[in-house]
């Protein structure tokens, strides 16, 4: 069975500080990977997607970057946090793109002060 793990569970960070969030998928090789952002009680905004190792595409510009250093690992980062970065960050995977079901991880709650 496939499992998706995100770390950390929650972060409280200062404006201007760096950030790194991680996501690991076990039990599935070469999945499509995605990062989403969700404001509290708000909609889901896709940030990045990756079809293969080393290749990441940006969907929206939010002063964030993403990398896929390994087949099963997806990293979201920034060098300088903004207040607007606060929210819930969700990693997801799917077998392929298209209309395949996306499976979401447990998420990381980020508070920027």
């Amino acid at each position: 069975a496939q499992t998706i793990h995100q770390w950390p569970v929650a972060e409280i960070k200062a404006v201007g500080s760096p950030l790194s969030l991680g996501c690991t998928i076990k039990g599935k090789s070469s999945p499509n990977l995605y990062w989403y952002w969700q404001a509290t009680g708000g909609t889901l905004q896709q940030l990045f997607y990756s079809i293969t190792v080393g290749q990441v595409e940006s969907v929206v510009q939010l002063n964030l970057s993403a990398s896929r250093p390994k087949d099963d690992q997806f990293i979201l980062s920034t060098e300088k946090l903004l207040l607007s970065h606060s929210g819930f960050y969700l990693c997801a995977w799917s077998l392929d793109g298209g209309a395949d079901e996306q499976y979401f991880g447990p998420g990381t709650r980020l508070t920027v002060l």
Binding site: N32, T43, L44, S94, D96, G97, G98, Q102
Partner: protein
């Protein structure tokens, strides 16, 4: 570009009553629609999906029918339960290998005893 509209931000019902959550969409592609449900402090999970015109799809007592003529994919249930209280998202896939999903703003369903 693609868009998804959910007209109700908040729906409050008494247990046992029927519910319909509205979803309409705009796309230039052949539509593939999803309903995701997110319980409090949990990750979103797929509830239903469809790309077939005028065919009802069902899962866990919920059902929806894609109507391409009216660009709609409303979610219904004949008798809501307390455990149905959650945030419901309608989403549209562009069916490319990017796996891009466009989500509606979401509808919070609260079921009271």
């Amino acid at each position: 570009g693609d868009s998804v509209t959910q007209t109700e931000g908040l729906v409050t019902l008494t247990k046992g009553l029927p519910v319909m959550l509205n979803c309409t969409y705009q796309t230039t592609y052949s539509p593939f629609l999803f309903w995701y449900v997110q319980h409090l402090n949990e990750a979103p999970k797929l509830l239903l999906k469809s790309s077939t015109d005028n065919k009802r799809t069902e899962h866990q007592g919920f059902y929806a029918t894609l109507h391409k003529s009216s660009s709609s994919f409303h979610l219904q249930k004949s008798s809501v339960q307390l455990s149905d209280s959650a945030l419901y998202f309608c989403a549209l896939s562009d069916q490319t290998n990017t796996g891009k999903l466009t989500f509606g703003d979401g509808t919070v369903l609260t079921v009271k005893p």
